[in-house]
Symmetry: C2
């Protein structure tokens, strides 16, 4: 592995400048104004895969943003790794809070600051560079396929259909994804559990126009107040989600599983200090690691209504809206939760308002096996490169593709992520450590060699 | 009065085109980007007062926007009327809901659509035209002073100080204000009660940055959820404001007062239909007229936090904010209510967040006498011009200057407004009837004649 490390060190400026070019493309899939940018990012990825030496690469159209597919088949009798990633990114707002422009990658303290640097451009790009290195060294131990999509941040709307109709093309032995976080650079880890997601938007409408709050206030239901009351009622006093049936399918962890989970290194004081909070808050009876790793949640992701500008406007707004998402755990089904939420939220509305509930997207939770050949290959790769055995962890985030792959292709996934929880994913000043990027490439090369054995 | 009516009819195109020029100036006092426009409006008013024939007119500076003062003294032994109005307007947003540009007055169905058409440019401008007519006819029966300010929509921050230091200049026998609404064009009315106001802004802060709702959701307090819980708790189940001490100073109306108030023409079905709502909603035990005219309220005027753009963003926001205002009734003091709100809202915050409460502005409620010489002159003016006796009403809105004038100058106010509740004040498509504008001028001329007698 020393040779690989030296090779990466020698070429790192090139690798970084290529990644920076990708980071400069504002491929915000949620914003239709960036449609062309999203395609531009896909085309850049396609080009870089071709340059890395794949046999063939193509842009596969969907009703939404295209999927980049590529493959390098060295020997059909050898195992095949299907790398999944996404070239789309979260919207960058609030822009005012970025210390450098979100689409102009800037290095500070050894970290690349840019939207998508960690999630997921910086992470999937490691796989393209790993292939390139193996090609140049004529040591490609497995067949490798790539499926890099452009709709992960908006719920992978067209990926399910794509996977269903392209099963032969996607045939593989394992899925490999780098889109999760390590415990730290001192303690590698492999994510073995992910939460599911149900993402809703609600709109409460009262009067048919904004009203003068003096003339009508007190006599006409205020949709903003009503929305607050409805949202407040979605949690009970112990922090549980107060939607009938919400917990029906939740499987409680065994005492042993809980104990194992809580053995992961975690310092509550440091956690609070890093976030600038005096206290954590969540469902009673669970630790912080349990709350994020094993319990379902309900969070307001955005809320708006009425006058939000400078100064004061005495308006009784006509409507108030919120984006509300629920993180789900294994065995909870997003479609069922979406239906439960919709019915319950509608039932909360007083007659003085009307309520519209829309589902944005959802995804199933997943638990990946720790006893597979692929997991063991990943663990050995970490041991070789990092000199430490990775700890299995459960992540709070969602990668719905994991459950989809299992269901449609019968394949397990290895979540070999190199980010950190503190990388500010989905936040202003998202960043990714240069060291994480470089050691990630090295670890991925090690994975392939171990997986082929 | 027939001559006056004919005179107005003959000159109405000129009057309207002058008003339109004023309406084209976007004098939004809440928005610092419109500072120059606000001054431009003041200068236009100054010029029009001079053209109408006042003895002197001046722009009086304040630390904020200037106050236009003017006077026409015909005979120091005659009574003096001090006309108050405001040339500033509410912000026009949401812009998308206007059917014609807010600062390009457009006539549809006999109504002038523009921000400020009714509140208050179209209303105070009637007084300038009334003076001009009386000057031209050499029939100015009283002395007239004008005080037209530019900060009414942001709480008249500098008017109190101005009134205190200019008591001699403002000496008068009555205040006359046109900034309220009639019951209808078929049924004139005079407002005799106004609610006070306490306008607050709150900000709830959780983590020091926006977080990934998957990685942190369930373990870290979400400020948007917490804000909703705090706001929801501000009303109890009977629709009363749930702030300790809030009702302490509220004087309940007598059974007779309530009966008189409820005799005003009011059709609940038409009210609901006009607003597009299935049910009204307010404090239990009170009618709609009582709720808006005699009871204090608490309304969210604006709320915002997290991701509010297109699509979905799985963010746990760092902060969430709201603008919350309370309408007050006579004997409730805004400073006391502001203090009660601040203390209570702070106390609602769990330790996992911090809360910042800021007071925007306030104003006292007011009740004006119905047995004064000025009120009787206003009533007779309506009778002469409209052929009907006006009904005294209590308005839900606030004009803090009324209490201020009483306190500082010892003067009562006559609220001789010509708008309609359906004029969409503070809303998109604000409008003012051309007929209201013209008959208003005529009624004001009749007021001066009656008041002088």
């Amino acid at each position: 592995m020393t040779e690989i490390k030296a090779f990466i060190e020698k070429n790192k400026e090139t690798y970084l400048s290529e990644l920076f070019e990708l980071l400069r493309i504002p491929s915000v899939s949620a914003d239709s104004r960036h449609k062309d940018d999203v395609r531009k990012a896909a085309e850049y990825v396609l080009q870089k895969l071709r340059e890395a030496g794949v046999d063939r690469a193509e842009l596969m159209e969907t009703p939404g943003h295209p999927i980049v597919f590529a493959e390098k088949v060295v020997d059909p009798s050898k195992p095949t790794v299907l790398v999944y990633g996404h070239y789309d990114v979260q919207p960058p707002d609030p822009l005012a809070l970025w210390n450098s422009p979100p689409f102009e990658p800037t290095v500070r303290d050894g970290k690349i600051y840019a939207r998508g640097s960690c999630d997921d451009k910086g992470q999937f790009y490691m796989h393209i560079k790993a292939l390139e290195i193996m090609m140049k060294r004529k040591e490609v131990p497995c067949n490798i396929k790539f499926m890099i999509e452009g709709e992960e941040e908006v719920g992978s709307a067209h990926l399910g259909e794509f996977v269903k109709v392209n099963k032969a093309k996607l045939k593989a032995d394992v899925i490999l994804i780098s889109d999760t976080a390590l415990i730290s650079l001192d303690q590698p880890s492999i994510t073995v559990g992910l939460r599911g997601l149900s993402y809703m938007e609600v709109q409460v409408t009262g009067p048919n126009r904004d009203l003068h709050s003096g003339v009508y206030g007190g006599a006409v239901a205020n949709p903003a107040n009503v929305l607050c009351q409805m949202i407040a009622s979605l949690h009970d006093e112990s922090g549980r989600v107060n939607i009938p049936g919400f917990y029906d399918d939740v499987v409680e962890l065994t005492a042993e599983e809980r104990a194992a989970l809580n053995r992961a290194p975690f310092n509550l004081d440091e956690y609070k200090k890093e976030l600038g909070i005096a206290e954590v808050r969540g469902e009673k009876g669970y630790t912080t690691l349990e709350r994020t790793g094993t319990r379902p949640t309900l969070d307001v992701n955005g809320i708006w209504g009425g006058y939000t500008g400078e100064g004061a406007k005495t308006v009784l707004p006509s409507t108030a809206s919120a984006k509300i998402s629920m993180r789900l755990v294994p065995n909870q089904h997003p479609d069922k939760i979406t239906a439960l939420f919709t019915r319950h939220f509608q039932s909360l509305a007083p007659k003085s308002v009307t309520v519209k509930v829309t589902a944005h997207h959802g995804g199933e939770a997943a638990v990946t096996p720790t006893d597979s050949k692929a997991f063991r290959a990943a663990a050995r790769a970490f041991e070789e490169v990092w000199g430490k055995t990775p700890i299995p962890t459960r992540d709070g985030g969602s990668i719905p593709i994991v459950a989809l792959f299992k269901k449609e292709l019968g394949l397990d996934t290895v979540l070999m992520g190199f980010g950190l929880d503190s990388d500010a994913l989905h936040s202003p000043n998202e960043h990714y450590g240069i060291r994480n990027f470089l050691i990630g490439i090295e670890t991925i090369v090690a994975f392939h060699r171990n997986f082929a054995q």
